[in-house]
Amino acid sequence: MSSSTLWRHPEFAAGARETRDVALGIGAWGLVAGVAMSKAGLGAAIAIAMSLCVFAGSAQLAALPLMVQGAPLWVIWATAFCVNLRFVIFSAGWRPYLRSLPRAQRLFVAYFTVDFTYIAFMRRFPQPGDVRAQLAYLAGNIVVSWIAWQAMTILGVVLADVIPERWGLGFAGTLALLGITASLLVDCATWTAAAVAACAAFAAFALPFHLNIVVAIAAAMAVGVLIDQFAPPRRAAAASEDAA
């Protein structure tokens, strides 16, 4: 990607400007992630490295308690993967836009594209078109959100050392995940799936290796599919989506 010319493209400024408006939210989220990582007992260097490598707020926050309690790597992986499954859906959406790029560049873009990038991009370019303009817009968007996130995460890591453990600031990470969870509870099926997941996570808590999380995911998915089978209106909606 010849970045020197992307900088000058008018779409770069457009992408940067639109992202600036949500940078406060991105930054606050990064601050929470930074504090949570530090409070979880990762050293400052590791916490910052994790943030730079992973760049995935919710998956990072969900993985933290598991890392602290010494869950096996594959369970941490599976959990982070499931939390970030929405990006699998998004990546299917990215495909038509990025198809003309080589694979290395596609992956490079994929690392940087977070929720807001996707939403803003799809709003600006409803149809795949001028690749240069799209890349320039993406670059502007990404530069601002990446810097806002990383700077605030590092600030959070540093601040966390100063704030006493008792204040329970690490809990802010759980609260953030709680908010995301609440946003996913949109209908009867999702409520039921969530209740099943909660019960399964409790009931199977005694299992070793945090397998209770895997059990909860499997149970909730099974119940969700069952509800969809027995709820005709939902199914019709899903089927029309498939057709489109």
Binding site: Y111, G179, A201
Partner: protein
Amino acid sequence: MTRGFFVIPDREVPIPGWLREALRYAPLAALVAVIVPEIAMSDGHLVGTWKDARLYAAAAGVLVFVTTRSLLGTILAGTAVLLALRLGLNW
């Protein structure tokens, strides 16, 4: 990984319909399974007391989210309740 999932292969990948339906519930389930023990369990047991600041912080967070749909507000309200109960009442 997840963000790149469908841009990795060069050719189109078909997804069966039932799997796509099931995947709708996976993120929700993973989140619930992670946060429920964080909020309501300690040392592997359901908390036995109502004097646990985390319960009220979570309730405040949900309340704020339901009324304002603001993630930032959720975090701030929950943290405020947690701090007040921890420092004020020593819960």
